[in-house]
């Protein structure tokens, strides 16, 4: 990584993604069944935040954004209003925390955020868990298998 000014610029970019995600979530909350397709937009924004946060070693932001990304994916196929509401509630928690952390980078992990992460993980499990992922080694194997 380079200068603090550059890091600040990167954080501002991530904050822009968080603002878009907030608008989307507000729209879903106002019309849960009609706007649930917008969960995919929210997921994309969380994905963008996660990827860049990982690259910037902002691990806690990456972790929470990753959970938000997966819960939003579940939201796109949620069958009932109560499931959608559950997703929306969890995503507000995730987004609020991501936004806070973007404004307070470098702050130590606290118990409250640990509890939030556990709660998000629990919600995700209740929806069937995250999509299966592969490690770098597994990707190497898949590439080799291609021949």
């Amino acid at each position: 990584m380079s200068t603090p000014a550059k890091i600040k610029e990167f954080i501002q970019e991530l904050s822009g993604f968080a603002s878009t995600a907030e608008s989307v979530l507000t729209a879903i909350e106002a019309d849960m069944e009609g706007q649930k397709h917008q969960f995919s937009v929210f997921s994309e924004k969380m994905f963008a935040i996660r990827g860049t946060a990982q690259q910037l070693n902002l691990e806690e932001i990456a972790k929470i954004a990753g959970l938000g990304e997966e819960i939003a994916i579940k939201g796109t196929t949620a069958q009932s209003r109560s499931q959608i509401r559950k997703c929306v509630g969890s995503l507000w928690d995730a987004l609020t925390t991501v936004k806070y952390l973007l404004e307070h980078t470098g702050e130590e992990t606290n118990e409250e955020r640990g509890i939030l992460i556990n709660r998000l993980e629990s919600t995700l499990r209740a929806f069937g868990g995250a999509r299966p992922t592969v490690t770098a080694d597994e990707i190497e194997q898949l590439l080799k298998q291609r021949g």
């Binding site: 963008a48 990827g51 690259q55 592969v134």
Partner: protein, 132 residues
């Protein structure tokens, strides 16, 4: 001419921070010709106006994502030989397999280290330079 001089590289990512970082790394390795664009649509325009040897692309972008760009490159005879490295936080198995089946040369999952990018970029470019 050295690999650094002869290789035209295109970095495609909608996140400015990532473009900046990847370009800085490539310049740091010694590559002289590194261009950046913000999405697959801009990449298509760049690829049809200049001869590139390597594309490093993110997956999720609009308009035209990294997968659509990969398929475009592989379907176009004049672009098909270009090396394509997907650099993304997308690590779901289904997506990785889709990229491999679509002809990606290599696939890197974020967070990336300098060493990972260095190894992948040189390996791909050298392999393309010396066809089997």
């Amino acid at each position: 001419m050295s690999l650094h001089d002869e290789s035209n590289i295109l970095v495609v990512d909608d996140v400015n921070s990532m473009r900046t970082q990847i370009k800085a790394l490539l310049i740091g390795f010694g590559f002289r010709n590194v261009d950046t664009v913000a999405n697959g649509e801009e990449a298509k325009a760049a690829l049809t106006s200049k001869a590139y040897h390597l594309v490093l692309a993110d997956w999720h972008m609009e308009p035209t994502n990294g997968m659509e760009l990969l398929k475009f490159v592989r379907a176009e005879p004049s672009l098909k030989p270009i090396a394509f490295l997907m650099i993304t936080a997308e690590s779901t198995k289904e997506r990785v397999i889709e990229a491999i089946k679509s002809g990606v040369d290599d696939y890197l999952v974020k967070p990336l280290t300098r060493a990972q990018i260095e190894t992948k970029v040189y390996t791909i470019l050298l392999k393309k330079r010396t066809p089997a």
